[in-house]
Amino acid sequence: MSVATLASTPDELPSIPWLLAGLALLAVVIVTLAVRPQLFISNLVGGLVYGMILMMIALGLSLILGLLGVVNFAHGALFMLGAYGAYQTVALFELPFWLALVVVPIGVGLLGVLMEVTVLRRLYGEDPLIGLLATFGVALMLEEATRAQWGGTPLSFDPPAVLRASVQVGFLEIATTRLFTAAVGALVVGGLYVLMYRTDFGLSIRAGLQDQQMAEFLGIDIPKRFTIVFFIGAAIAGLSGVLRGAEVGMDLGMGMDFVILAFVVIVVGGLGSIFGSVVSALLIGVAVFVTPVMLRAATTVAGLEWLYVSGIGGLMPFLVMIGVLLVRPRGLFGEEGLLE
């Protein structure tokens, strides 16, 4: 069967159904722009920001996945702790948000290191499912501990005044939290890229990803580097938690919700591809926010309002994933044979 796939060339022209689907999508976008321009654009921005958060979580998750072969289920819990940590700092200790922005990710990163050293280290080389289950147990413990400490009801805190304002861009008003989140997200991606592709440290990590034993034969202390990477991944999760908490608040379910979404992002983008994760996170973020608007506009214009499905936005990541899996089993930019 894949003999046939081998024969097909990548620069093949898109087939008729794909062309039609693309044209239909374009038509819907135009209709939506005509009917509700402001809502469309503002949801587009909202989607991109949401995508940035997804992207940061997914990057940390995929870094650890690639390195240790473990889907770190507790990654979502670390994200959640970032948000609650910010709440503790800002609302309870009444310290500045900017302090939380620096201190909380470091604290979450250290917690991640603790987890790596006490639990995950014992599971290197084991069946990857065991690592998945162990981190899953840790995630539940963290969640329960959070419930004990901060209670089960959703919380929020007031971000500093700068972030409560909004900026006028053309006819559009964008909340500064969103701009700030987008900026931080871009910085994180850029920083990770530089670290991974422009430094010796990153080179050794990439080598360790491809052949850990050989990297150690060359004199590289891979376990130590893994711990550092774990810190970085956990800290990024904590940072995104702080940002998310500032924008929309926090609850106990956010950890699990986002770790699942981050995994969907990785699957759609293709395992092991930083670029793939970035693209798919933004794609999914936009899909979540924009689809309802487009669907509403299209059904209104066509007079088929019964076709409108409420809550379609939240379903989009999964629809995108199923679609991608059916068409490109390895994700958009996945490499063959990685982690299977």
Binding site: D200, R206, Q210, Q213, M214, E216, F217, L218, G219, D221
Partner: protein
């Protein structure tokens, strides 16, 4: 004092013990061959010296410059000046030639200039930005040797560096290894299925059978004694 001294080494995998007491000693500056049939335990010995996760060590000792290596991690062993060209080469497939060399240099205390490697293997110079997975077997082997050499080691372990390569490339590699040993004074321990290569590179050989050293011979004796070769090596 030998540079490397292995005594009573017993090791194995989950499926069973492979080594049943290996004793060997290598002096500084020597080039020594480790020969034997398939499954005799040659690769297992090499991996044990290098401190790989597997095999499990059951008993014995590995002393390097008179210090015990067994309780050291493999990256510590590399730091002490041991480098390894494993069977199957184990290049980093999605790193470029330059990166493969650079990573070894960056991990070493006193590396050789990468340019020297490219002088040694002009073929590699022409494909600096190529990913290792896209190279031919011979080019990969050159890169594996360059990667091991760039860290400026005192002891170099080579596990079947010539397997599956064309005769003229085998000759190139034999020549390079000989020069590394003669000109740079790097001590060499080489595992070879190809007895001719082992004889071309090394002066002295240990012959392994069923996890034990059964014979220690000079190259001359090995060349002359057909019966010996036939008995232990099947050639």
């Amino acid at each position: 004092m030998s540079l490397l001294e292995v005594s009573g080494l017993e090791a194995g995998y989950e499926t069973g013990q492979i080594l049943f007491g290996i004793d060997l000693a290598i002096e500084e500056g020597e080039a020594v061959g480790l020969l034997g049939r398939n499954g005799a335990g040659k690769t297992t010995t090499m991996r044990a010296i290098m401190g790989a996760d597997l095999p499990r060590i059951i008993d014995g000792s590995i002393r390097y410059r008179d210090a015990e290596l067994l309780d050291r991690k493999s990256y510590d062993r590399a730091d002490q000046g041991i480098s390894f060209v494993p069977e199957e080469r184990q290049l980093f497939p999605r790193l470029t030639v330059t990166e493969n060399v650079h990573i070894a240099a960056s991990a070493a205390e006193d590396p050789l200039p990468a340019e020297e490697m490219f002088d040694l293997f002009p073929e590699l110079d022409e494909m600096r930005d190529r990913h290792a997975k896209n190279m031919s077997g011979g080019e990969q082997q050159m890169l594996a040797i360059a990667r091991a050499l760039v860290s400026n080691p005192d002891l170099m372990l080579l596990d079947e560096p010539c397997e599956g390569l064309a005769p003229q490339i085998v000759e190139r590699l034999e020549d390079v290894v000989t020069r590394i040993n003669d000109e740079r004074g790097v001590t060499v321990l080489i595992v070879e299925q190809n007895v001719a290569t082992a004889m071309a590179v090394a002066d002295r050989h240990y012959i392994l059978d069923e996890g034990r050293i059964v014979e220690e011979v000079t190259t001359d004796r090995l060349r002359e004694d057909d019966e010996l070769r036939q008995r232990h090596l099947g050639v």
